[in-house]
Symmetry: C2
């Protein structure tokens, strides 16, 4: 609870709280609707919002918590919004950021951008100011506005073009130091999200494309989210990009004939469901083929596309992030029919692993994965490289050790029976390239996985030496030798904390048939006010007097209190209070004659009468 210092009573009649009766028609997700209806925000342009007083109060409370916790491990900076092109060229990201970066020119024609993130600027300070291992470790953070020219801004504050981030950067002399900085952030982030009242999971995240070694996202389950995560009761949690599971044993089919691949005529049975029914088997006994063309990180007109073919169980789905990582490519697109013919040799629906001629070897793949090899490929033709454009074939772990599977025969209307990996076909590599499924068992405690959409509220990341190296930051170590410090990068989306809290609460209210609550209730630590005192009728002098007195008592006890002193009907006041998400409401009404008021605990969906004398102590016990 808030004990710190005496608060002033805020009077609704004096505040600018433009609640809306109806949700705007273009708002889809709950937090977008409710932030507009509650008078928290108004839109100025696509993905650009003004924060009105209630929104700003909530944001300020979140920032205060973040700042207080971050001050415990680091030092606050404030870096510029406008960056000269040069600092982004030094890291090589001026080009990489593409259209997501807002760019502009000043009156002299100098090229500038709006900061999307601040690795470059922080590393620039580090390279100029840090000279010795004695100055390390450093944890530098800021709370600042970021800009990204999102292609499709939407969902209110969830996907915007301007937003507030707490970003932090650690500089350490070595990996052990980075581990310590990373762990500090992990702990502080948990405290921050706990204090903000969020129900979150910390998930392993993919860190491959940024070259880092470890990465963890803090996620809140919500249908409004755009990420998919898997978690279980044993504490396992991972982004779907990274999640793995234990597969239950699957029964193989019995061999037919001599047990070797046997061509079967399967006219029109290109779909997995159809072939299963036709041959009387399960999808888990089928080999699915998914074929892509892969692109390198910064493709040019003459960069060759790379054929990437995935084989996995008929009931499994490819996870493209995992596949990209193992295949060493940046992006995938489905093969066109001509490419299927060229690289695999069959038509869609009847593709399979048996007989693919030009499969890349594991060794070449390892070379490619270094990233440098891929760059070398630029401009070479199929004729001039032996392994260059061979097909990368990746088999999912779910097929390992299996036998007598059914697979397409790379021939229209034909399948093979008795296909047994290793014996019947070669692959470039075998790896986990599939999405886990709801209910599969997690790998650490064998508990069923919960799969769901989620929104990211924070991210911690072992960045490595990408920026310190490319920008030339060095310090002298104990032996007087120049070494490159190692970095971590850590972010919290300030508005995401608010939107995630609203989404969570709105979903609870909506899914509880017994709830009489509308709108949402924010955790008291981040609500614009902790408690609203609603005078049901200000024309009744005793109600008015009691409301004023209770509000004053609560403020004196340190509560952040809003007094609804408007000349409105009680129904309107209750509805408005629900729309602005205040977690506790005290209704001053008829029961006052019995010395009682009504306390509505909107978080617990409970209402009870409380004697006037007990109001402060009751709230002190509750909040």
């Amino acid at each position: 609870m808030q004990q710190a210092r005496k608060q002033v009573v805020h009077r609704w009649s004096q505040l600018f709280i433009p609640t809306l009766r109806e949700a705007p028609t273009d708002a889809e997700v709950a937090s977008h609707k409710l932030l507009l209806r509650g008078g928290y925000i108004r839109q100025l342009g696509a993905g650009i919002y003004s924060y009105l007083p209630l929104g700003q109060r909530a944001i300020n409370k979140i920032i205060a918590i973040v700042r207080e916790e971050m001050d415990g491990i680091g030092q606050e900076f404030l870096l510029p919004t406008i960056h000269p092109k040069e600092v982004w060229e030094a890291s090589g990201r001026w080009t990489v950021m593409g259209d997501n970066m807002f760019r502009l020119k000043d009156r002299k024609g100098a090229e500038l951008c709006l900061g999307m993130t601040h690795e470059e600027v922080m590393t620039d300070i580090a390279r100029n100011e840090l000279r010795s291992y004695k100055q390390l470790p450093q944890i530098w953070y800021q709370i600042q506005t970021k800009f990204r020219d999102e292609p499709r801004p939407k969902s209110g504050l969830l996907r915007v073009r301007q937003f507030i981030m707490k970003d932090a950067y650690s500089f350490d002399i070595d990996e052990a130091g980075l581990d310590a900085s990373y762990i500090k952030h992990d702990a502080v982030y948990r405290r921050i999200f706990d204090r903000c009242g969020l129900e979150y999971v910390a998930v392993e995240a993919d860190s491959g494309s940024m070259g880092g070694s470890q990465s963890q996202e803090f996620m809140v389950y919500t249908e409004a989210g755009e990420d998919l995560i898997a978690s279980s009761a044993s504490g396992y949690a991972a982004n779907l990009e990274k999640a793995v599971s234990v597969l239950s044993p699957v029964e193989d089919l019995a061999p037919t004939g001599d047990g070797l691949p046997e061509l079967v005529h399967t006219p029109g049975k290109g779909a997995i469901a159809d072939i299963c029914q036709f041959l009387g088997m399960l999808p888990s006994q089928d080999i699915k083929c998914v074929a892509f063309m892969g692109t390198v990180a910064a493709p040019t007109a003459d960069t060759p596309l790379r054929p990437v073919v995935a084989f996995l169980r008929g009931d499994h789905q490819v996870n493209e992030t995992k596949l990209c990582a193992i295949a060493g490519v940046a992006e995938l697109r489905p093969m066109l029919p001509a490419e299927l013919e060229l690289h695999i040799g069959g038509p869609a629906g009847f593709l399979g692993p048996v007989g693919i001629a030009e499969v890349m070897t594991q060794g070449s793949l390892n070379g490619l994965n270094s990233g440098k090899e891929l760059a070398k490929l630029k401009g070479v033709s199929r004729e001039t490289t032996s392994e260059g454009l061979k097909t990368i074939v990746i088999m999912d772990l779910g097929l390992q050790g299996r036998s007598n599977l059914v697979a397409g025969a790379n021939k229209l209307d034909y399948h093979f029976r008795n296909v047994t990996p290793s014996r019947d076909f070669t692959v470039t590599a075998t790896a986990d390239i599939r999405n886990v499924l709801e209910g599969e068992l997690d790998p650490i405690g064998n508990q069923p996985l919960r799969l769901g959409k989620a929104v990211e509220i924070g991210h911690i990341f072992k960045l490595g030496r990408k920026y310190t190296q490319s920008m030339g930051a060095t310090v002298l170590n104990k032996d007087g030798k120049e070494v490159t410090p190692i970095m971590g990068s850590y972010g919290i989306g300030i508005e995401r904390i608010l939107t995630a809290a609203i989404e969570t609460s709105a979903a609870k209210f909506a899914s509880n048939p017994e709830s009489k609550q509308e709108g949402y209730a924010l955790p008291s630590a981040i609500a614009p006010f902790e408690v609203v005192v609603t005078i049901t009728n200000i024309k009744e002098a005793d109600l008015l007097a009691a409301g004023e007195s209770i509000a004053n008592d609560l403020a004196a006890a340190g509560f952040d209190v809003l007094l609804d002193d408007r000349d409105e009907r009680a129904g309107v006041k209750f509805k408005d209070a629900e729309m602005i998400g205040i977690p506790y409401r005290i209704n001053i009404g008829k029961k006052l004659s019995e010395g009682k008021v009504e306390l509505v605990d909107r978080l617990l969906n409970q209402t009870h009468d409380v004697a006037l004398a007990d109001i402060v102590s009751t709230l002190q016990r509750t909040i």
Copy 2:
């Protein structure tokens, strides 16, 4: 003093405080040098700075004071940085802002700008949300980063391209309401600057060009400033643009001949000093002529320039802001020789008021001053308008009632004697168009004026209906009639508070020959730390223990304390503490054996010994 809550001890050894031994060569003003030397800021680009931990601590303290005071009269918003072109077109300022506005396009080609100020965005919210007089008054503020593409960024944080402003906007139903909102801001601004420990003057400022009716700037005298202000012991204070003074009586020359204008041959005596010597008179007995061509607010290729000629005492200087205001033009440039011949009829050095043919009448001038008439002039030629391009002749009040003056005769090497205003020449208007001079008497208490450079830290401004009208914001008044609310606009430069405080202190230290202080000392309310406890030698265990203990006691008492626990020589530590501007320093040194430490009060330039037991109470009495 800080009593609020227990603080933690900050250890210098753990902080990032990159002080510099030498001032960077490109830094000119004291605050620029000292902010760099003290490790407060680092430059990222022209007019773009990163705030390091000490800078950010000071900024955060200033912001906290501003927020606390502003919350007493208004409600905090946070408006976007990126604005769509449309909202600036609605007010007509998209064009007016010219090259000072940073402009950019998004990925879809939509035109955007970076907010320089937020009248448009606030008025946009007001026009969408305010419907009734019952919702007024509103005072809406924010603390936010602003962007201006300064042509010549310089002086460290004094003239930058990105800076933090507290900007506020009031909406009232009528002038009386605006008066009240304006007075509220005046009072709150004084409290803010008082709490920040600034020595400031509140000066009348010019409000003509923005169409407002009253305007006041809060200024701090400093040689680093770019404004000139005049103030006196009687409380009078005004920007030089606006300052007026009481002139002492001046003796007129005796008439010669028939007392009418008499042509005198004055070969080569074009300069005032020369003619005075030649004719044995004082500059105050001469009429000086200063001739300009004036331009309208948004000139185009075919907008005619307007001749504007000023006559004033030979010892006075034209104030171009005053002249622009009375002449109804936006900018002035000196006439070229051909223009002097055309519009006045004489050569430079021999210009005078007698015989100028085409002098505009007062009536036409009043029409022009409305601003609308000026727009009409666009594209008309000299032939098609009767008054259009006649010469605007303005006489300064200092010539009113005078007689027998000497003036150029608009003929090479000739002057007139016996020139008497009104009788011998006509003017378009007589007005105060001169700069006041140091030592002249102020108009309210007849005290001598102090003239000096100053930096603006705040500005309050009765804006009128310019934005509400152009953007179509209306509310219903008590009678159900649509009326246009009236606005005020109010700004505080957050960094300016810091730089002004540094400039003031550095100037005091530099000008006091008895000062042993280097650097500067910030007022304790805005210093990054209130007190630094300097352990002169950490290798002496008793000094170390005493330093830790004193720092802990001070923190427990609520002081924001920095413990210099570094393994450095005492001299280095003292110097560093002076460079970072901490107002109080406690030296833990040899006298500890007598149970004493040294308290250096850097604001008062005093050092005294204090018994260990008295340290906390002494600081409580002091800070």
